[in-house]
Amino acid sequence: MRPILLQGHERSLTQIKYNRDGDLLFSCSKDHVINVWYTHNGERLGTYDGHNGTVWTVDVDSESRFMISGAADNELRLWNVATGKCLYTWEFPTAVKRVAFSEDDKQVVCITEQRMGYQCAIRVFNINRAGDGNKQSKEPAHMFNPVGSKATVCAFTAQPGVIFTGHESGKVALFNLKTGEEVHSNERAHGDVVTDLQMSEDRTYCITSSKDKSARIHDTKTLDVIKTFTTETPLNSAALSPNKPYVLLGGGQEAMSVTTTSLRQGKFETRFWHKVFEEEVGRVKGHFGPINTIAVHPKGLSYASGGEDGFVRVHNFDDSYFKSQPYGDLQIED
């Protein structure tokens, strides 16, 4: 399993995302650029230029037609995936930290940063998919400010009109979009800031990672913690692997203290944990800095990790990975 090294960014990665078909990989970075790559050979298909600040987040719709991105230039942009044209730009008073498409691609949720006297805000926009897609409404369909600790990550759940959020305090919560009310919350889901949130295929459960060195699987309806994965390093990202009962965790020492420790000490490895047994299965080394983001192919054929070192490493799994049954013949539902 020789990884493909994607060397298209000059600064550290912030988020990477596979499209639904798994043939493309979107990556965004602090160098203001969004890149899109062919996942089978690592060739760069193109870039999306236009943001004028760290691009914090991207998401792509299920048809690979539209891509949405949020950046530190306070802009939320909608792009045409195929042409690379920016279709629409929304402007906010503060930076956009997280975006996500809904399951039906008709809505987008975004989190804006709490800064300069502005509160952290969650907005939902309806996406007009007709025509070129450059006719969007300027005003959000829903907007509200979560009270208490600011939200860091969010995604739509399986229940219509409800989003799942992770917060700086380690809280996770469910919000009703229409009313802006907190439907349900778990204040002690994590002990520190929630750094990543990835939904399962059917959005009935999700995995969150946190600086408290653990990752957890939550039921998106009851917010029950189903599984906990405790490592010895702060985690920046956690991903679920479809068709295999593993979760992938990435992280490492805080970026600011990396230079003071040796490579070995930093633990810049992707960890594979068994989803159900909560035990570590293996590790993949490679990055020179903390891993900021991990994504798994929607069919579980490969995975990619983006690091503070500015590289994306795409690992296509070998045949042996699919054939081997290290835990015997157990049928585990996805």
Binding site: Q159, D202, F277, I332
Partner: protein
């Protein structure tokens, strides 16, 4: 229930004793400050004043002042003479005591000697019950067996872990047999230490040393040496040496006795104790030895070196002599030290198994009172550096006969280190030699074959500096770490010295030591032989960047060889690497006493990165790893020598197949057990997970179904409303002409 009338009647019988006891007044008229003085001259009244003045003067002279008014002299009224004794009142009991101590048996004049007694004592002894009361015999409580842990049916070893403020003692065996053995609640101590045979565990407290042991880990003994910093057990666990950097002070009013320091011990800082009785045997001062040339030198520890049979303990006064003390009296042996001009260091020759058997036989024979057999002679090796025209010299000395057995002269010596093989078969003197210009250092190994006649010496010459040397226990091989790295001697952060590791073996034919194999370009700086020999681990310790562990087998091909066949293969071909491992930040590497497991630990005393410990098998497979903040110490519990006789051991070796079958069956059963348990657990987890998934999936599809139904319903509910909308499309005003 007693009736009312009864109560009234018994008013006078009410028991007031408790109230009386509570409010009873204690009279302050004890006679503790009154003394009775006997042996006073018998006088008549005329001489009274004179006598009293004289007595007062005598008392005052011995700093026990008394006034004539406080003296009461009884008279024999019939004869008008005194009765030859008198009473004295002092201001307090303390003063009375002082006077008692000072004046008892004081010769007043040629015919009279004062006998002083407390007045209360006179009363006490006068009222003493004359009948003999048989003392109650204390029930004999058998002590726990101090080596109970050896009777573990699974033959496991123990280890102690000291982390934060907590100590825990664990069993280590097969994976399912590892468990907590004991969690003591010892508090406020520096560190823990096992005795050399594992019988006791010692904790160093502010007040002194405590020993714990037995199956319930009860306190076994205590040694009051305040601020103790270092301890050392004698090889047979009979004696303990303690050291503190603070000199001993004996404050007033401290408990006294054979277990405590007495005023003569003040200023010393090294103490020798008898472990069984807890008695202090002797104290020494190490201050004189610690100040070498060039300011403060580190004190060598152990400061006292024990002979292997606990018969003697010796210490060196650098440059002057070796003083050997006999035990248990701690007197200087032969009343004089071994005067050796310039002596730097010495080592006792360890006993081989045979010697030890003999020594034990002597002890048991001695106990039976049978004819006394001579216990085997001890041997000391020491070296003296070059002085003026005299070459440096290594000497083997027999003790207690003090006969010089062998001497070897050495030239251009800057430093010597004495390494005995653990059976005392060989002595290697690692000689750091300098070239004539004294610019570079190289190394010679002078190897004495002690068991042979005339102690033949072999020399192995090396070009590099040797940083570590280690004999294979019970073997004829040794390993060295050598280096020619220019960074040697100027350690800095991030510098890891490149080293070579070489193995040497005694060639039986030529009777010299030949190189087996050199592993070049390593960073290893520590050699750890398995206590049973054959296996060796090379470790890189104390480096911030490298932390490799290499596991080697020196007899890898030996298994295939038939017995009786001689070594015809290539020299050194049987060395085989078994595994490589890495323990980041490792500070200590230690084999368990059976030589089956290796423990590595990273202690918070050295650094604070990734503290914790790991246990490996002899092939370098990790069995256990614990990362713990504030982890400090890991120690295997040592084991005493085997109780099996040579013949028994031989028999077991011969019938090993029979025994191994039993153990293999055990292993098999156990692994099956573990597997079934694990599989069951996993199955349960999977079932739970699948059930939850099924539930949530059903819920989602329900929701979806409901949504769809709702949508449908809402479609059905739709009313068709026809609205007529009138739009004025255009309005044209036309003037119609009529």
């Amino acid at each position: 229930m007693p009736g009312l009338t009864q109560d009234v009647e018994s008013v006078e019988d009410i028991d007031y004793s408790d109230i009386e006891a509570k409010y009873s007044v204690e009279y302050d008229d004890t006679f503790d400050n009154t003394l009775v003085v006997d042996g006073v001259p018998v006088i008549d009244r005329s001489k009274l004043e004179k006598l009293l003045a004289k007595i007062c003067k005598e008392f005052s002279r011995r700093s026990a002042p008394v006034r004539p008014d406080d003296i009461f002299m009884p008279w024999d009224e019939s004869s008008g003479k005194s009765l030859g004794y008198l009473f004295m009142d002092f201001r307090s009991a303390e003063e009375a005591n002082a006077a008692l101590l000072a004046m008892n048996n004081h010769p007043f004049d040629a015919r009279h000697t004062f006998k002083l007694n407390r007045f209360s004592d006179v009363e006490k002894y006068a009222n003493m019950d004359e009948a003999y009361v048989e003392p109650v015999l204390e029930e004999y409580a058998p002590r726990e067996h101090l080596r109970a842990w050896l009777a573990d049916p699974q033959g496991r070893d123990q280890y102690v872990v000291y982390r934060g403020e907590d100590v825990e003692i664990f069993w280590h065996g097969k994976p399912s047999q590892c468990e907590l053995a004991y969690k003591p609640d010892w508090r406020d101590f520096l560190y823990v230490s096992w005795s050399p045979l594992g019988t006791y565990i010692a904790t160093l407290h502010r007040q002194g040393v405590r020993l714990w042991g037995g199956s319930s880990w009860k306190p076994q003994q205590r040694f009051a040496h305040p601020l103790v910093k270092l301890i050392d057990f004698s090889p047979c666990e009979n004696y303990l040496v303690t050291w503190s950097n603070e000199p001993i002070v004996v404050p007033e009013g401290k408990p006294q006795g054979p277990q405590y320091f007495s005023p003569e011990d003040e200023g010393n800082n090294l103490a020798v104790w008898d472990i069984k009785s807890g008695h202090l045997l002797r104290t020494f001062s190490t201050v004189a030895g610690s100040e070498g040339p060039g300011g403060k030198r580190q004190m060598p520890w152990p400061a006292l070196k024990w002979s292997p049979d606990d018969q003697f303990v010796a210490r060196v006064t650098p440059g002057q002599m070796i003083s050997v003390h006999e035990l248990p009296s701690m007197f200087l042996h032969g009343k004089k030290s071994l005067k050796i001009e310039g002596v730097v260091d010495f080592e006792w020759c360890p006993f081989s198994d045979k010697d030890r058997d003999e020594a034990e036989k002597v002890v048991s024979v001695g106990a039976n009172g049978m004819g006394v057999k001579k216990s085997p002679e001890n041997m000391i090796a020491y070296w003296t550096p070059e002085v003026a025209n005299q070459p440096a010299r290594v000497t083997l000395l027999s003790f207690p006969s003090r006969a010089i057995l062998r001497q070897k002269n050495l030239f251009n010596v800057s430093e010597c280190k004495l390494h005995w093989q653990n059976q005392g078969d060989f002595l290697c003197v690692k000689v750091d030699r300098h070239t004539k210009t004294k610019k570079s250092i190289f190394c010679n190994l002078e190897i004495f074959r002690v068991r042979e006649k005339d102690f033949p010496v072999e020399v192995v010459e090396l070009k590099d500096t040797v940083t570590d040397f280690s004999w294979e226990p019970r073997g004829e091989r040794f390993a060295i770490v050598s280096t020619n790295d220019p960074n040697l001697g100027n350690p800095g952060p991030g510098i890891t010295i490149k080293t070579d590791v070489s193995f040497y073996q005694l060639d039986r034919v030529k009777n010299d030591f030949k190189l087996l194999k050199t592993l070049s370009n390593r960073t290893s700086n520590a050699i750890r032989w398995s206590p049973r020999g054959r296996f060796v681990v090379l470790a890189t310790v104390g480096s911030s960047t490298k932390s490799e562990l290499e596991f080697w087998d020196l007899d890898f091909t030996l298994e295939d060889r038939r017995e009786g066949q001689t070594i015809k293969e290539d020299w050194g071909s049987s060395i085989q690497s078994l595994g490589l491992a890495d323990h980041y930040g490792v500070t200590d590497v230690e084999w368990d006493p059976s030589g089956r497991y290796l423990a590595t630990s990273a202690s918070a005393w050295t650094h604070t990165l990734e503290n914790g410990y790991a246990i490996w098998d002899f092939r370098g497979q990790e069995l256990l790893k614990q990362l713990q903040d504030r982890f400090k110490q890991f120690l295997w519990r040592p084991r005493p020598r085997t109780l099996l006789s040579k013949e028994d051991q031989k028999r077991i070796r011969k019938t090993l197949k029979v025994f191994s079958r039993i153990f293999e069956e055990d292993d098999q059963r156990e692994s099956e057990n573990v597997n079934t348990e694990l599989i069951a657990l996993r199955r349960r987890l999977v079932d739970e997970w699948n059930a939850w998934r099924a539930r949530s999936k059903a819920e989602v599809s329900d929701d979806k179904g409901r949504d769809l139904a709702k949508e449908k319903q809402s479609e059905e509910d739709k009313e068709e409303i026809e609205v007529w909308v009138e739009d004025i499309i255009e309005q044209i005003e036309e003037e119609v002409e009529e």
